[in-house]
């Protein structure tokens, strides 16, 4: 049994679907999260390494402030790996230098006025749990404040999106509130 951000993830569940326990994480987002931390599709929660669990927890606690993903090189067909005598730390140092050089290039381009196209990371704007609930509450409050139809419907506990009210509308009557969540 693993606890991540207060949520219990059962051991025998697939990690990819256990992550959907979080409010705001569905199957697609969970798949992207697993790819981010190199968790394969059939990995069970009990098979996650401690490093993967801590990385997941630290990412989910604040997705917006997560460090950017390094762009690791991939071997072309005729690639020959360096001799085992070359220590890994040396290779990592070389990689870091190449990344810093890339950052400088991007900064130089931005100064010129032709900024390089950045990859729009969908997980950067991920909101889960309390942040997401706050956002929804704020949206409803904003609609009410500007006096819109949507705001009035929330206040009257009625359907917002043009559904029938002569029959049905049970869910809206139960859940639509100004102080939803």
């Amino acid at each position: 049994m693993v606890h991540v951000l207060g949520k219990k993830l059962p051991d025998n569940h697939l990690a990819r679907f256990a992550l959907t326990q979080f409010y705001g994480v569905g199957p697609k987002t969970a798949h992207r999260l697993c790819a981010r931390f190199q968790i394969h599709d059939k990995c069970k929660v009990k098979d996650l390494t401690p490093f993967q669990i801590t990385s997941l927890a630290s990412f989910l606690s604040s997705p917006a402030t997560a460090p950017p993903i390094p762009r690791y090189p991939l071997a072309p067909p005729k690639f020959v790996s360096p001799a085992p005598t070359v220590p890994l730390s040396e290779l990592q140092a070389k990689f870091r230098e190449s990344q810093e050089a890339l950052v400088k290039e991007k900064a130089a381009l931005a100064e010129k006025g032709t900024p390089a196209k950045e990859w729009n990371d969908p997980l950067k704007s991920l909101k889960i749990e309390s942040e997401l609930r706050n956002q929804i509450r704020e949206n409803i409050a904003h609609q009410r404040m500007i006096g819109s139809y949507v705001g009035r419907r929330h206040a009257m506990h009625l359907p917002v999106r043009g559904q029938n009210t002569q029959t049905n509308a049970k869910t809206a009557k139960k859940l639509n509130r100004l102080d939803r969540f």
Binding site: A35, K42, P77, S81
Partner: protein, 408 residues
């Protein structure tokens, strides 16, 4: 017929009872053993059974799914010796003393024509002849995101520790005798990249079986990738035993894998360690000093179809017209047609689409002796099923013999 003796249930006190011969393990097919000396032109059209020792490659490496289902029903796993079996045997005999660069063969043919069975027969033949055998019956398990993967900066590929561990374990189990006579030609350090405190050094001259056993004992799979790499390098260099690398589902290695990188892009198969290893031997970039690379395509898999690059290089022909403007991947074309200009491309060995009448007869008798038929008009049903299935081996068994119910 035996069904006459089946008592229909009348009351709870006298339930239906199967006759003795239908009890499990009551029948056994008395077939000759599938051994090298049995594979001759004279024996084409006879069925031969596989031995059931614990180190048999089928038991250890496993089987393709459809073959496994068939052997599960049969009393004894067996197959028919065909013309193409004898041809493959001759090719392997020639390959025994030459580099695998000259013997990179792909078995092709229609769905159900017997490619996987032929590959399996080749594996059994090679094992009996004392080859070192590495058999991967379902290559798509390497790319369907079912085992761990981790990026490695040294090789600039994604390593597969769990899958590598399984292969080292199976390689050791099947070839333990051969591996205990081979030794390391250079010292080998395990775990230098991971944890410097747990580094293990194997001196030059250590038996390969010891190296493999040390890897199998380490249940964290950390040393598996390095150990597999060093084992393959040693097997490449040695000339004591010819090495057979047999891959089924070969076409799946030419697709994008189900693994995703941190940017959520599908990882290419040649960027995963195990598919890359197989593709390197297939393309001639790496070769065994003595041995062969034998692979079979799976024509009936709709998820991993035979890609255009393989269709072009093996000249398989296209069912549907293909535009010359459809993009072929340069990298995959390189792997299919040989990375080295001198290596040449993969050789296409076409498996005949139909059983000959003698071969079909032998298989029909196997199923008849195993009590699979429901009527006693054997000659008529044989000819009917042979014609209905157009001689296609899989259809003859599954849609012919096993799927028909014709009471006498």
């Amino acid at each position: 017929m035996s069904e006459d003796k089946l008592k229909l249930p009348k009351t709870d006190k006298s339930p239906a009872v199967l006759p003795e011969q239908f009890e499990p393990m009551s029948t056994s097919l008395n077939l000759p053993l599938f051994e090298p000396k049995a594979i001759t032109r004279k024996n084409v059209g006879t069925a031969a059974g596989f031995d059931l020792t614990p180190t048999n490659p089928a038991k250890v490496f496993g089987l393709p799914k459809k073959m496994f289902l068939e052997f599960r029903i049969l009393s004894t796993p067996c197959s028919v010796i065909r013309d193409v079996t004898v041809e493959t045997k001759h090719k392997l005999e020639k390959a025994k003393d030459s580099s695998s660069k000259d013997s990179r063969i792909v078995l092709t043919g229609r769905a159900g024509c017997g490619k996987s069975f032929l590959l399996h027969q080749a594996v059994q033949y090679a094992k009996s002849e004392g080859w070192i055998v590495l058999y991967i019956p379902r290559a798509k398990t390497l790319i369907n995101s079912t085992t761990t993967y981790t990026y490695d900066l040294r090789t600039q590929t994604y390593l597969q520790p769990q899958a590598s561990y399984r292969i080292v374990e199976k390689l050791l189990t099947v070839n333990s005798d051969a591996l205990s006579t081979l030794t390391l030609s250079a010292p080998f350090t395990v775990g230098a990249d991971q944890d410097k405190s747990k580094v293990q050094v194997f001196k030059e001259g250590t038996k390969l079986s010891e190296v493999a056993q040390a890897c199998v004992k380490d249940k964290s799979f950390q040393s598996a990738c390095g150990t597999l790499e060093v084992l393959m390098r040693e097997l490449e260099g040695q000339t004591k035993f010819p090495v057979l690398m047999a891959i089924d589902d070969f076409q799946s290695l030419f697709h994008d894998t189900a693994y995703r990188d941190p940017f959520f892009r599908p990882i290419k198969s040649h960027h995963l360690s195990l598919p890359r290893l197989i593709l390197e031997y297939a393309s001639g970039k790496r070769n065994f000093a003595k041995g062969a690379f034998l692979s079979a395509l799976t024509a009936s898999d709709t998820q991993y179809t035979i890609p255009l690059e393989l269709q072009d290089t093996l000249e398989l022909g296209n069912r549907h017209p293909v535009s010359p403007y459809v993009q072929r991947s340069e990298t995959l074309l390189q792997y299919a047609s040989g990375l080295d200009a001198n290596a040449g491309g993969l050789q296409n060995l076409k498996v005949p689409e139909k059983f000959s009448v003698e071969e079909a007869q032998a298989l029909f008798e196997v199923w008849k002796d195993d009590l699979a038929l429901t009527n006693s008009r054997h000659d008529e049903s044989f000819m009917a099923k042979y014609v209905e299935s157009d001689g296609n081996p899989r259809d003859f068994v599954w849609k012919g013999v096993l799927a028909s119910y014709a009471p006498s």
